[in-house]
Symmetry: C2
């Protein structure tokens, strides 16, 4: 019997099965759990999965229960599908694995979404009631009087649909605007999606706008990453490649649409009942998503084309939710302090309290915010994607097999990996841990040099065997070949250390610049908030020990997860939060580091390792 | 030398010239005046004409001075073009001829258009001023804060355009919304177009929104008329023909776009500088223009899908003005009392004064409004297109050669024709005149019967030769063959008289219904206003004598021209007028005649001819 290979995403599991096996059996073999509420009878449609490649022909049951457009996109029922060739299958419920950060520390706010629905039984037209279809429906719905913003296509369907539904109508409102009509009572189905568009990763959240509950989550690598790791390489592409801007735009739009499909399948809802998307992201990513030429972001004085909050029809942007749905963009603060930072400030509520808070989001760039109710400063540092694994010899994202934590165990070095898999590389948190340990052990000097084997301190003499000299200088072997899945050892090179120095030095110097501007010292800081994937997984001790963060008591340091995405979700469920977001964008003062006189000196100083090495000692 | 035939529109003149003649010479031969400010040197571009067919290849001068898209549409310079084949040429300046009504009695209102422009010299981005392009421009323009309605495509151009223009920008506003940016100072060029979409005719007016002045006028037959004369035949077409609705929609859109081109050429402006169209029309025509299925207008209880005022992006409707321009629809009152009636009420200001006013607009349908500030009633009668020449043996529109007035001259019958051309048919005003005369002479009995030749009253014995019996009953020869251009006599048939009876009877019965509802008698009426083409050309005496209008002193009767179009123009130049239009649509009470108990009796009575024959005698 021929064998085929099936991969499961996002669990990152693969297995070999006989051609023609049932997908459900293959999943069991691979240890992937499928949800089949109806017992696998093809009735409930809840076990929908997406064949990313190698989809089998749909079965009659699938033809019945899945729309044509979904079938074309590779949707199948896990309880029905067979594995006929090598394939990759996305299982929406098994969100646990790929550690793209999609969880956050939720701030609770009263539900007041922009999108609301109202169901009415409209008086039928009669000789005594000759109002137009629209007028009678608007009167019943109690819509805002005056200037009507109704969509032309909605209007074209209105007369027919209203009669089909015998004038039982549900109106869909976006704030005061009536954006759509639906036959019957559809008030129970009212959903929104929040997008966090990062340079490296995309996260998407499906929320029930009637309850504020999160129904499903999906994440993916930003497909633009194929073009280049960082913002500048994307901008270069738009300037050099024919139709470069349009290509980048459609890449991200396509992937967001795929995520919307995954979310909808995961929650067992129709994407037509999603009426709004709220979007955060860095300024450049939002420009690319909007199809706005970002080149001025790469030229002094680095101003964006647009920074304020915006609304656009979803179909104008190509976002495949309800055809009359809208997309709301949270505002940005500056060219390199985007709506993602506004989202973080919103989610951490740091504009509301008197606690002096330092919030740091380390992604491909590092955004830093410092302040409280009475004043907030923000800056951005070109931290680079080192902490996301780029430019690091064995660097990788925090995915299956990544070394994500490193510590001393009885004088020897120990590590853990994502999902406990065999080590496949090292991600940002593991890298910083490892370097912090090695600095502590004297294997890495405060200036960043990896010592020669002969220079290893006496108490760490057993590390001599791990210290080697490679093509490009000294390196430290973190995992020997037999503990890895890559057919060789995992090492930290001198160059890796330099990359980390540059990244953490930029962040430290940014923090210190804001502290000096605000005239505060580490002891004045009430709270340090670490956002983003790296901020979530990094060990606080390592970050302080490496001199990346001010030397504050550990109890004051909190990881808040994807705070940017949380901000998008908050704005999805609350118009008050949108107002706050606009306030934040106005209120936060942006500090441009490239023209700050002291920044470069602080940066040079901050390259060294050691807690409090740069930042003023706690008072 | 070969001869070719050239026709000039709208002058309706044709001439034969040698192939290869200059168009300017052909125009001179035909007696058509061309405006050539630069003396025919091809420099000023003011003599642009449109070859409706038979366009010659463009000359180098034309290639230089006319855009590609205009060339494709047949635009040429009259001073450059040659006549190489049979052709038809539209000369925008020569608007005098085809008597489609495009003049009205202007009501003067303060200028307060929705569209305004503001030119600003925006501070350039600098290290000390890092606002986004949009923010700095909005701040300079003083645009409305908060939610931004800017068009996505405008935003995509913004960064580039602003820098090209070195941040000298003109903002285009529609009320509070910023709809477009233009490089440099374009405030001098700010235009709007008013459309009156009639069942039979389309009228378009170009206005300078900086001054309120009318710059040019154009009119055309509604191309949908090919499908059917009246509203009901158009609706039937949408129900029966595949894509019928879309076909009708694109017909009217195409023709309106052609008219916009004619207007722009006539005024020597660019259509890109037209930012708004204000639209009136009957309810069905507006539904068709919007692409909304009108079938419910043909089914009891005859409610429209939409009656309120609306705004849509021009490009969504396919209207080829500025790409960010908008189309404003005035509101309608009911299924058969449309925005054209609202325009008439607006233009005649009858909702503002205490004078009891009767306003009648006779087009393909007859709309009747009666009231004053304290209360207004309106109804619509299916007058039919008799007065526009349809269903009348020698009927025609009031175009070249139409008999437009008939009177007694020394006991004999006399007539005039449009432009004094040889008689080609008879239009509505001529028909009603003729019938009024013949009733007065006893040639037509009060009941509508044309007498036999032998029955002619003694004093009109000389009419015996004009009285004949045709295939379908008696007829009266108005113009003998030698006085016509159609190779035979022009006659009024018994059937023609019946058509007029039905039409005028419906109007009279409608008027009487409103008078009874309001409890007024002819003597209470302070003012009678006749709108529309027929209302403009009809002799008041004839209308009263035929019993179509109440028997009021002639001094109280006023022709106001295309009041509907005037209403559209008023709303184009004044937001206050738009508010008034919304008020009118709410305030005017619609009376449905088909369910009015007394209407049918009144209608039967009103078929008879004679002043005051139906309507209560003046008290």
């Amino acid at each position: 019997m021929a064998k085929v290979i099936i991969e499961f995403h996002p669990a990152a599991k693969r297995t070999e099965v006989e051609r023609g096996s049932a997908l459900r059996d293959a999943a069991e073999t691979a240890g992937v759990e499928l949800r089949m509420p109806c017992g696998g009878k093809g009735r409930c449609g809840k076990c929908k999965v997406v064949f990313e490649r190698g989809a089998p022909p749909p079965t009659p049951t699938e033809l019945d229960g899945i729309t044509e457009s979904e079938l074309a996109q590779g949707y199948r029922l896990a309880c029905q599908a067979q594995v006929l060739q090598d394939c990759a299958v996305y299982v929406p419920d098994a969100v646990e694995a790929a550690k793209i950060l999609t969880v956050g520390t939720a701030r609770r706010v009263p539900l007041k979404p922009a999108i609301t629905k109202r169901h009415v039984d409209v008086p039928r037209p009669s000789v005594d009631d000759l109002r137009s279809d629209l007028a009678r429906i608007l009167d019943s719905l109690g819509g805002a009087p005056g200037r009507c913003r109704i969509d032309l296509h909605a209007l074209r369907q209105l007369g027919h649909d209203a009669r089909e539904a015998d004038f039982e109508i549900t109106g869909v409102f976006s704030s005061e605007d009536l954006i759509a009509f639906e036959p019957g009572d559809t008030t129970a189905e009212c959903y929104g999606v929040a997008f966090d568009i990062g340079t490296t990763t995309l996260a998407a959240y499906l929320l029930d706008l009637n309850t504020g509950d999160q129904l499903s989550v999906a994440a993916a690598v930003n497909p633009q990453a194929r073009i280049g790791d960082d913002v500048i390489s994307r901008i270069s592409y738009t300037m050099q490649a024919p139709d470069g801007l349009e290509k980048l735009r459609s890449m991200v739009v396509g992937e967001l649409n795929r995520l919307v499909g995954v979310l909808a399948v995961g929650a067992g809802i129709s994407r037509d009942r999603i009426y709004e998307a709220a979007v955060v992201g860095n300024t450049c990513m939002l420009h690319l998503f909007l199809g706005i030429d970002p080149k001025h972001l790469a030229q002094a004085p680095y101003v964006p084309t647009v920074s304020q909050s915006l609304y656009f029809p979803a179909d104008e942007l190509g976002i495949d939710i309800n055809e009359f749905g809208r997309v709301h963009f949270l505002p940005s603060i500056a060219g390199y302090v985007g709506a993602d930072t506004v989202g973080m400030v919103l989610a951490t509520a740091l504009y509301e309290g008197n606690e002096l808070t330092l919030a740091v989001d380390i992604g491909t760039n590092g955004e830093i915010v410092l302040g409280a109710k009475n004043g907030i400063l923000a800056c951005s540092t070109a931290a680079g994607p080192a902490f996301e694994g780029a430019h690091i010899k064995h660097g990788m994202r925090a995915a299956l097999g990544a070394i994500d934590a490193v510590w001393f165990d009885d004088g020897d070095i120990a590590f853990s990996t994502v999902s406990g898999a065999k080590a496949a590389g090292i991600c940002g948190s593991g890298l910083l841990d490892a370097i912090a340990c090695l600095v502590q052990a004297g294997i890495i000097e405060p200036g960043g040099r990896i010592v020669d084997a002969s220079e290893a301190p006496v108490e760490y003499g057993h590390f001599q065997t791990r210290l080697r000299t490679g093509d490009r200088g000294n390196e430290f072997m973190l995992a020997p070949a037999d503990e890895t899945s890559i057919g060789g050892p995992i090492v930290i090179t001198q160059r890796d250390v330099r990359e980390v120095q540059l990244a953490k030095g930029a962040i430290a110097a940014g923090i210190q610049t804001l502290m000096e501007r605000l005239g505060v010292r580490p002891g004045d800081i009430d709270r340090v908030v670490l956002a983003g994937a790296f901020g979530n997984y990094v060990r606080k001790e390592s970050a302080i020990m490496a001199g990346m963060l001010p030397d504050v008591p550990l109890a004051k340091v909190h990881s808040v997860g994807n705070a940017a995405g949380e901000g998008a979700k908050l704005s999805l469920i609350s118009l008050d939060m949108r107002k706050d977001a606009d306030h934040i964008a106005d209120f936060v003062e942006y500090i441009e580091l490239t023209t700050d006189l002291g920044f470069h000196e602080r940066f040079a100083d901050a390259l060294a390792f050691g807690a409090g090495s740069v930042l003023s000692v706690q008072n």
